[in-house]
Amino acid sequence: MVLEKLVEVSLETLRACYTCFKCIGVCPAGLRPNLFVKAYLSTVFRELRDVYEEIVTNSSLWSCAKCLKCVEVCPQKVPLNDVIEYLQREAAKRGLAPRAYQDMVENIMGTFLAFGSQTIVSRDGDFYTTGEARELLGLTPLPEPNKIEKFRERLKGLRSIG
């Protein structure tokens, strides 16, 4: 496998789901992880196409906290996380990914980091910017976005593959 082909994750074992519902009871976000399995299976059974449509367009797809609890308790070792991420990519192809992801990508392209300067509050109610607080505490300043052109191109290219 090479970097560009990473999306071809093997989802073979998810057919082993025997709908015991254990994953549902454990999900802190109140999702139905095994419903995602059903949706994925629609790539095989056309009858489930409406389930697929519903899941891919439903915002609950983006409510997964990625806690991986469902993956850990599943008695059939169904790679639920891979399934969810697969469906998220499908939704993203239709432009349904939440804006926040794009913002973070943009940020990385500009600064190498996912977040820019933030407001930091102390228990006494003082406000600082990241830069101020770091300096005050003797920490190094944030990395500087030198020579970022190539990096930016690279990200753009790889993002388009997935």
């Binding site: 990625k66 998220q88 933030q118 505490l137 990200l155």
Partner: protein, 296 residues
Amino acid sequence: MARMVKLAVFTGCFALSKQIAVELSTLRVLQHLNVEPIVPRSVNCCGFAFRGLYPSMSLYLTGRLLASLTASDPDGILTLCNGCYLMLREAVHRLREDRRLLESVRSYLRDEGLELRGIPRIVHPVELLHDIVGTEVLKGIKRTGDNNVLVATHYGCHALRPSTVPSFDNSVNPSKMERIVEALGFRARDYPERLDCCGAVLLATNPSLAMKLAYSKISGTARWGFHLLVTTCPYCFEMLDARQEAVMQTFGDEPRLPVMLLTQLIGLQLGLSEGDVALNLNLSPVDKVLPQIVRR
């Protein structure tokens, strides 16, 4: 004394920009523990947020990060954030298993003049304290705290899960953090919410659900009479400490669980000042427990 361990420290975007006490308290504490930290300046985001959405891009980011962090030829990489820890341990795991993938990542990096030489060991802060520094050293710290302080440990999801990628402890029943707390002279205890999610990943996409998760974690933990909760991850810390007041108020409750970084707790035991570990940035009611932790 054993040779000084040289670790490249990766703080992670969120700890760099928001939870800066993570980096500060870690660096301060390491000075006392025979560990030499190297903090490279040219780093990039580990790609955690896009692990699912743009897998190739995110692995490229992780690979690039690995290259920057190994440039100084350290004994290992210390990641301060659980998200970065997952990304790095997963990348290392995959690159070790799959030579073609490794070559592919390398060729991308070479293009940018970066070199990914060896595949390094990825070290979690808990692993550093438990396995590298060792609980014996921690036990040797002169205690100032009250033995009866009951401490809740919070590992955070991505320190341990998924169990398909090796981590530093048993993914369903970890114990190293408890051993550390006990070595410091406090009491630790298993509790049902121990491995629960803080909700931080949802901050960007579903903030109200994130609050709900944090609430069930905090209020669930508080029921057991813990005096303090410790964690190492800046995201978990954000949810459990910085946002505790907001979280609790959303659900008509009061903030009541003091939360500290594990490195802050150790720092205070080592005799560092509150300022040395930036304790003034903790927003949870730590004042409640402080007198029992440090008697000055």
